[in-house]
Symmetry: C2
Subunit: 281 residues, 2 copies
């Protein structure tokens, strides 16, 4: 990938911080500017080497950017991308790392000021850890990064981001924002909902009776309620549909157990194991 | 705990093998006899040091036992305990490590031959790994072991098993077999069912789009279909009830998302995080 002069990362949490660290370790840019709300996070991001410069002033932070990556919480991405377009060099490419895409892409596609373009992105990487202190230069190695181009997307913008994510170790998949949101409802948002319902339904008297199985299955429930409320809200239709399908499958299992239908029960468990084994550990 | 001369473990998989290894590391018995179906498993169990002697002949294996621990799959525990009672020294205590208790305890309580007694047990420890090759002497450290005495249980039998599990590092909790099964439906069987439904409902085209979140939430689905069919069957009523309650909570979440009810959504996610955080990592 051609070396960039300045990349600006808006939002230096786990994802933004890890992108910055990965850029710097691989020498993909001369300067990595981190923009954030809190001086303490920015200090940590500098301290771990995720960024070379920091500011709480978004306008100043993007002033010399060749590429802007918005890693803010999903509900803030549209606003931050618009602000970036107003203050960055003319014709700058702006992308994001948000876990929903449709509403963001629909709002920003072909509508930014001053010749700036938005191309949606979503690295499928993460952790239950939060904040730049846990930034990991290899977070995107052997992962998938999704890009969601539209009819308005320029080929060279897509190519630049494809090379960018490839350089960070990710396999790049192209899909529409709508396909992305439908897929994520099943692969990411549904598991979070299921983990949360499992955690919320556990009576306190049973806490000490849980083992590693319960902890694994409910782990995602430790994520930020605010962030996930936004995700569920932005991807409402597909999340509701995924929850509905899951509920039906759950009914199938419950009925099979209730009615001594061992064939259905066994087939379901066999297929579930087959699918899970295919995903690896 | 008083040193025993011979402990016989029927079923030397991960749990049986780990119990054997833990006994030997702590010097709790002179001999640990492993009984199994397959010579290959028995050889592995000997090789890793989980047992001192092995046999595929249950009658011979229990002939000198001071304590018999049945670690067979749940559906075989009753039969193996009865066989053990027929061939072990008169008045020997027999326990188990099965993950359901009610049907086993109801069948065996106060009904074994030749003065033998059954006292149900369940160490809340495990792993997605199977087989004696993964036996771990510390598998029960800082875990919970449940004992399910009845009105017929002798105090000295309970004391022996309480000291035994304490020696292996577990906190011993006493509850009725019925309470046990109701609790496990919520803390162990429900997560397994949920993980399996999640895994089975994933379309193959989405496999490559899953991340660590999906993998954690569905991890339990990799367990043995045969074993889990037995568990769901033996604990049918409580599992069906737990699945019903879970389904209702899931409906609550789905409705909150669908109807833009942000308060209910946020409260659910906040309470879920609170519960999950209380369980530790």
């Amino acid at each position: 990938v051609k070396r960039l002069k300045t990349v600006t990362i808006i939002g230096v949490g786990l994802i933004g911080g890890s992108i910055g660290l990965a850029i710097r370790r691989r020498g993909l840019a001369q300067r990595v500017v981190g923009v954030g709300h809190r001086q303490s996070s920015l200090r940590t991001a500098r301290h771990v080497g995720a960024v070379t410069n920091t500011t709480i002033d978004l306008a100043k932070g993007v002033a010399e950017a060749d590429l802007v990556i918005v890693c803010s919480p999903v509900a803030a991405i549209v606003e931050h991308a618009r602000l970036a377009a107003r203050h960055c060099p003319q014709g700058t490419l702006i992308t994001d790392a948000g876990s929903t895409k449709r509403s963001i892409v629909e709002t920003l596609d072909d509508r930014l000021e001053r010749g700036c373009r938005f191309l949606g992105g979503h690295p499928l990487a993460g952790s239950e850890k939060v904040g730049p202190a846990h930034a990991d230069a290899d977070l995107f190695e052997r992962r998938v990064a999704i890009l969601t181009p539209t009819a308005a997307t320029r080929a060279e913008d897509f190519d630049l981001l494809e090379r960018f994510w490839s350089s960070l170790g990710s396999a790049v998949i192209r899909m529409s924002a709508d396909e992305h949101d439908r897929a994520m409802a099943a692969t990411s948002h549904l598991p979070h909902a299921v983990a949360s319902v499992l955690a919320v339904s556990l009576p306190e008297t049973y806490f000490r009776l849980t083992g590693s199985g319960f902890r694994d299955t409910s782990r995602l429930a430790a994520g930020s309620p605010q962030l996930w409320k936004e995700v569920f809200t932005l991807n409402r239709d597909y999340v509701v549909a995924a929850l509905g399908r899951f509920g039906q499958q759950l009914d199938t299992l419950r009925t099979a157990i209730e009615q001594h239908d061992e064939t259905t029960l066994e087939n379901l468990l066999i297929q579930a194991k087959k699918n899970r084994d295919a995903l690896g550990s």
